[in-house]
Symmetry: C2
Subunit: 434 residues, 2 copies
């Protein structure tokens, strides 16, 4: 482990709901230790602003809780403020004050950034602090970092995204189960994919805020929420979802941002996506963002666009970005020290596909099954196809350590009834990795 020295970096929180608790747990746990190794700086969590300091928060030291914003904003030892309370005011005035007093800010607040991001960034610039907001668009999918760092110079021409998981879940259900919009929404609410008041998601405002943020960064140009016309899925009829399917399309709520002759076009609306398009395959509550440029062609990022730990992870990554990694040393240690042992391949467990060319006569399947059984390998599926004197015996085997399948294969290959070397191919999925 590299040396961690100096006064700790104190992280103050505004808000401590699911996401805030996730941030505290991560920073106080293994993730915090990893960040300390990578940045060379010690972390300290707290104070944490809440409405009711008497109510316990799992994993959060009650002594850190306060109802007084001064304990966060007025404390000169707080170097980074994490805002996870939501809303426009008071967060706006509090974050401005934090930035102006030399504190860096991490926020998940898409409504705030899509309306007032430029004022906050100006305050950050004037005070030499940082403002980060990865969690404001698609949670743990690192689309902002990829745009502002990896693809900063790639001259992005279009950002097309499924950036709202609630509506994507509802549309997937409408198509898959033939549900009406109202019934699909009810199911989404049952499963926790939609809020009790789903207006912001189903009406498109949530997606519009994210697209304003993504378009700003992709095109290096100010795009505000008010610049993004949006339409939700709340008036979509099952008939059109079905009709679109018949015509070879899938209906998605898309955010579409692109450069058209030097101007920025950004909008959010239900869209027919050709069934073979890669965004058509993104179902359920997942998000996906497709980035296009003549330099890099198409890069797509896919993942859960919401969730407590996912959002917390993006916030923690932003904290690390602010602290910075000290040059080389963390990765150097990681790659230079053996660290974890390497597992011999034969110990890895997997399901397997096995194809045998065997003599087409009675008793061969029983013989093969008994050899497999003796080696502790069991059969999940078997297909036998006779073709005259020879037959194909194709099996999918239950998850087994590779070493056993290898032993069984050697024995099978030696049988007079087996005519060619057995073909064995691992299967991805259950049992992978034990």
């Amino acid at each position: 482990m590299s040396a961690v020295s100096g006064a700790p970096v104190r992280i103050g929180l505004l808000g401590c709901g699911t996401v805030g608790q996730g941030v505290v747990r991560m920073l106080a746990g293994t993730a915090g230790a990893t960040i300390e190794r990578a940045s060379g700086q010690r972390l300290e969590v707290g104070p944490v602003l809440v409405r009711d300091a008497a109510r316990p928060r799992p994993g959060v030291d009650p002594a850190l809780l306060t109802t007084d914003p001064e304990r966060v904003l007025g404390d000169p030892s707080v170097a980074v403020v994490v805002e996870v309370m939501g809303g426009i005011d008071p967060p706006m005035s509090w974050l401005l004050r934090a930035l102006r007093s030399g504190k860096s800010v991490v926020t998940a607040n898409k409504q705030l950034i899509s309306r007032h991001g430029s004022e906050l960034l100006r305050a950050a610039q004037e005070s030499g602090t940082e403002l980060r907001f990865e969690a404001s668009a698609c949670a743990a999918i690192p689309v902002i970092k990829v745009l502002r760092e990896s693809l900063l110079a790639a001259e992005i021409e279009a950002v097309t995204g499924i950036v709202n998981g609630t509506t994507n879940f509802i549309l997937t259900e409408m198509r898959r189960s033939g549900l009406s919009y109202a019934d699909a929404l009810a199911r989404a609410q049952e499963l926790g994919y939609a809020e009790a008041d789903p207006t912001e998601d189903v009406g498109g405002a949530d997606a519009a805020a994210k697209m304003a943020i993504l378009a700003s960064i992709a095109f290096h140009s100010r795009v505000l929420l008010g610049d993004v016309p949006y339409e939700g899925i709340d008036r979509l009829q099952a008939e059109d979802v079905d009709m679109a399917h018949d015509l070879g399309f899938v209906v998605k709520l898309l955010g579409l941002a692109r450069l058209v002759e030097g101007a920025v076009s950004v909008r959010v609306h239900p869209t027919l996506v050709p069934a073979g398009h890669r965004l058509a395959a993104i179902g359920g509550p997942d998000n996906a963002v497709l980035l296009e440029s003549s330099t890099v062609r198409e890069i797509m990022l896919v993942g859960p666009g919401a969730g407590g730990t996912e959002t917390a992870s993006a916030i923690v990554a932003d904290v690390l970005s602010i602290l910075g990694t000290h040059r080389g040393s963390f990765l150097h240690n990681a790659l230079a020290d053996a660290g974890r042992p390497i597992l011999p391949p034969d110990e890895v467990q997997s399901a397997f596909y096995m194809r045998l060319v065997v003599a087409d006569r009675p008793g061969v399947l029983a013989l093969v099954a008994s050899v497999l059984g003796e080696e502790g390998v069991s059969i999940r599926t078997v297909v036998q196809r006779g073709q005259g004197v020879e037959a194909r015996l194709v099996m999918v085997l239950h998850p087994t350590p590779g070493v056993r399948v290898r032993a069984a294969t050697v024995r099978l290959a030696a049988l007079e009834e087996v005519r060619e070397d057995p073909v064995v191919i691992p299967v991805l999925g259950s049992g992978e990795g034990g």
Copy 2:
């Protein structure tokens, strides 16, 4: 534009093939200007080591070309060395020397990093320089940056990837066109997706090197090429690809890296992927990497895993990472200054889906078509379904500015023959964005 000041940062190149030429063009063009704005530092390209300095390279000033490595390695004004020549030696000794003499290094050399990454990183640490190698795994797909920054603290448990485009193209062709392995390879060579000597790709060594690098970073542990058992697709039979399909699987060459009870398991081999799995949908020469962790669930990155400009883009992004972005100011300017104009939504061109409920009587389709025609909107597909007194008229319209479709819709809604408000939904694809 923010102030760019001080002595320029000089970038030396080792090698100047397709990728090197792409790097020079990007740095000397708009991308270089963007990096200067973002980092606050001026860039200067050259010297460029080549074998034959007399042969011209498109876009590269001939005066920069040299056959003498000293002109790059011995020049104290060169701050960053970009290695795009390939091979193990001389690059290894040259890069060690560069790092030890205080130059940072960017390389696309996966064979070198997967064998000697730890020695190079140690040299970087000792001299306080940086070593970056995003382009060594999956070109412009920023999987290394995402792992080492965005997901550094996310405790990644598995990295599963299609990390070789040549083999993915061949497997896609075997399945789609029923070709044998040899014929699919020949087609890949014809189309430029496979080298004349395809051994490193089809035998799995290329994928193994990438997986060693990705596993090292994901698990913060040294994994060398020699730790990765690999098997290619060169002995795969069309019969097994077809049989797998019948059983509900797609054959992919996968890299599988995961933590098993604290140990690292990494391997590369043909694998049966369930047809519904998200990696099964990645066809052609594309790459995809799936990152799993209990914190962020599954994040997938998809894109071209090879190509000259794609690889150059990853190298340029690494150069920016080394220079660093000065706090806030670039993004601040981007979001605070209006920059580009915002295009009014009605001017955006798109294909549209339109559904009308009309009176089921002769002449209605002709009437609708003439209204559309008068507004300059033409029909690509039309489906008419009679249902007694009413009929459904469902059309897909050719790409048209939204304003025209809106005008046509208003006129259609006013017709006595049209019984409900027309439903209009944009279609993604041709014509999008004009």
